[in-house]
Symmetry: C3
Subunit: 206 residues, 3 copies
């Protein structure tokens, strides 16, 4: 059981590292900028989650996560060298998979630490959204999470699904949470679903 959680967590870190690398690449950053952006995306959300919950930050005691990010960033760069065209969807899909892993694992870790299901859903959402948010701020994009296409909403749905199914079966909950997040996010990207955008009635500038 512990093993499943561990590998799932590592897989989430890996896909987020890919998404960070892809954005750094698009922004013409150098080799180390790539690794910085990959790391921030991959461990940013989990670090904030552990800090807020008062747990030891997950990657300080197990360097595997950092080795994983390094390896993934290097492999992604090599892959990008040999690929002539990278559709923008690749970045969105990598990000969606990362979000699916982290929303569920964030909720799981919060529940294990003895917090309430409501806080678990909130922390799942924070784990999943925060890394990508810093990634976008550093690369000077408007954070995806604020741009819509049901970004944070999918995390809330996924983490809630996990928390609910968790009352019966831990492994099923993990799968349901991840699949729910991933499918909802991919569908939202595919069909450009989004919540209504609010428009102001005035034309003053802030």
């Amino acid at each position: 059981m512990e093993q499943i959680f561990y590998w799932t967590d590592l897989a989430g870190v890996a896909v987020f590292a890919i998404s960070g690398t892809l954005l750094a690449f698009r922004k013409h950053m150098d080799g180390f900028g790539v690794i910085v952006l990959a790391s921030v995306t991959a461990i940013g959300g989990g670090t904030l989650r552990d800090l807020i919950l008062g747990l030891p930050v997950f990657w300080t005691t197990d360097p595997t996560y950092l080795y994983c990010i390094l390896a993934v960033a290097v492999l992604t760069i090599i892959w990008l060298r040999f690929k002539a065209y990278i559709p923008i969807t690749t970045l969105l899909v990598a990000d969606a998979v990362g979000v699916a892993f982290f929303a569920t694992m964030g909720a799981q870790k919060t529940l294990m630490a003895g917090f309430s299901p409501f806080i678990a859903v909130v922390m799942g959402t924070i784990s999943a959204c925060f890394g990508g948010m810093i990634r976008d701020v550093l690369a000077r994009d408007i954070p995806m999470v604020l741009k819509g296409e049901l970004y944070a909403t999918t995390c809330v749905v996924g983490a809630s699904a996990y928390v609910i199914v968790m009352q019966w079966n831990a492994v099923a909950a993990l799968s349901v949470g991840m699949l729910a997040t991933l499918l909802l996010r991919l569908t939202a990207i595919r069909y450009r679903w989004s919540l209504p955008v609010f428009q102001e009635h005035q034309d003053g500038s802030l």
Copy 2:
């Protein structure tokens, strides 16, 4: 006494949530972007304060804060739907009230945790300024706190007033701290008071 602190804290969270919602609205964000920005503004400063002081993060043990943010964001959105014109001052005033609450409550919580009055003033300022700073960074505005009009200065004055009066009376200190911050900030906005802006003598770009 505890009750007064609790309600004051909750009121601070509520007005900051309003200011986050207003900015998200002006930036044409979708429904969840609005809630993310409202939450970050409302709990960002207090979260950083609790992390730095090594206290349990206030909203993880009491979900009332999060319910309050949700309710406030939804009510603000509904209100905005029915209002044809939102003057920019509304945002500034909501922000000023939030700053007044947080500068004082941040100093109060730090003193209670056994830190020195000087650190209490610093943490009051951080609590009050940090949430709004992230709000502005995420919405890609230049943070208000850096743009002047005595922003951080008012927090320092208010938190200092609280810490000084605190030696005689806790409730009086609370009122004095908040009123000092609020009045100074509103006056600064009204009369466009600001500290001298430093200008460089050269015309090189960074």
Copy 3:
């Protein structure tokens, strides 16, 4: 020994405060904006390091750091008033010295707290890069650490040098770590050394 560490740490805070003040000055911020930016640059990296390692945040128990930042910011402002021309290199050099101090001291503090040498190198890099990264985000520049010229690389080299020499001699390790970081960073700035920048093959916008 403790004394040496303390003064070195304080010196790092001071030069980073200078670099924050210089950038705030270039961005035409007011007096308090200057102090905010100076503080964020000077204590941002160390604060994140202490939070992640679960140590008490260094400046909450010893206000000397904050007094030092205030004094340095005021002195820098006075100095700037009397100086007609500030070459951009001044900012880069102040930043380089700060990076040299923090990469080494961050690694040192992490080793002392009982973490592995690998984590010490990572935390040295975070301590050194994070303050400047927030400084640049707040001032709406692209973070230096992502722009290249071997920024993060120098921190990794310096922190690694410290961790290696540390096995024989603590004071020598301190000097070697700092000199390695400083010289490498200055040379990189001087000769515009940088890692290869990755370019995308497509012309799509994100």
